[in-house]
């Protein structure tokens, strides 16, 4: 059985429509691809839920030679106790669940993109695809915090696609890791470039202005 079998139904105009889970509804951020070409253009993706994951799987393999593995579908990742934590053996899915990990790209070999079938947000896919493309394009190795800046730059270029909260959280993660690193010039450059607009976003969120 295809591990990416899609739950869905055909709507009144014959177009495939995914069935939303309670999780999807609770998130309240459901958006759909218009067509497959738009999904994978330039920066890697917009939204992947259910049937879109199937397309992503083929796209990743055909274009990048990267295998997509769904942590909450892949039987080995669900059940095989490969991780030792505090003396206990746990599976990758148990590990992800305990810390709310939702995606990870590994260069390998073999190169693999790990996602969840039940929760693959547009931003998660976008973020990991920037890492994937950076690797695929054989860009120079940089400090991991510098690569996160590159990811944030891509997020910011497409900021109209993201919520204020997504932008702020993405910024704050990069801010923290750059601040702690020895990359003082990078930190200054990053904050000089973004802090003013991020502060506006911060106040909007803090005072409930959307």
């Amino acid at each position: 059985m295809d591990d990416l079998a899609v739950e869905g139904e055909i709507d009144e105009v014959g177009k495939f429509r995914t069935v939303l889970t309670l999780e999807d509804v609770a998130e309240g951020g459901i958006k759909r691809f218009k067509n497959v070409d738009e999904i994978f253009d330039i920066s890697g993706g917009r939204l992947l839920l259910k049937d879109e994951l199937k397309r992503l799987k083929h796209h990743l393999w055909n274009r990048y030679g990267v295998r997509l593995r769904l942590v909450d579908v892949d039987q080995a990742l669900k059940t095989k106790k490969t991780i030792t934590r505090n003396g206990k053996k746990i599976s990758k899915l148990e590990d992800w669940n305990s810390r709310n990990v939702v995606g990870s790209f590994r260069e390998g070999p073999p190169p693999e993109l790990f996602l969840r079938r039940s929760y693959a947000s547009e931003l998660t896919v976008f973020h990991e695809m920037v890492h994937l493309r950076y690797w695929f394009d054989k860009k120079p190795k940089v400090h991991f915090a510098q690569e996160e800046v590159i990811v944030f730059d891509e997020i910011w270029k497409t900021k109209d696609r993201w919520t204020n909260q997504e932008l702020l959280e993405s910024y704050e993660y990069v801010f923290d890791i750059l601040q702690q690193s020895s990359l003082k010039k990078d930190f200054k450059s990053f904050t000089d470039k973004y802090s003013s607009e991020i502060n506006q976003i911060r106040t909007k969120i803090q005072f409930g202005i959307q």
């Binding site: 490969t82 991780i83 030792t84 934590r85 505090n86 990758k92 590990d95 305990s98 810390r99 709310n100 990990v101 939702v102 995606g103 990870s104 790209f105 590994r106 260069e107 790990f114 929760y119 947000s121 931003l123 998660t124 973020h127 890492h131 991991f144 690569e147 996160e148 909260q165 997504e166 959280e169 993405s170 704050e172 993660y173 923290d176 890791i177 601040q179 702690q180 904050t191 802090s195 003013s196 502060n199 506006q200 106040t203 803090q206 005072f207």
Partner: protein, 119 residues
Amino acid sequence: MNTAEDKIKTTALKVMNDIDWGFDTSKDIECYFESFDEQVEQLKSLKNHEKYEEILASIFPIWKVFFEFESDTEIDNNVMILKINDETSEPFQIRHKQARFDILKNDEGKYYTKLAWSQ
């Protein structure tokens, strides 16, 4: 600075044990102290904002403690950051790039997490 780095590390290890989050114990635990003044510097663009004083009243000096994911988790390009209030020495947040949790403490003094944001 109100809380010494050694105490911060001790608190951080208790939190990680209580919430049962693993980390790469072969790597050093890195701490960063973010002073009140550093935070004010980052907020300078809001000096003329009508809520500026209110914003200033909400900030406090913070210790940020950085943990790497264990190698067997195969989670790349991500780190865990635990934040501790320097004034109270109490942890209040842990995050990685895909999620942010509030840190709370139960009646027995054990820390636990509550998901506050997920990517």
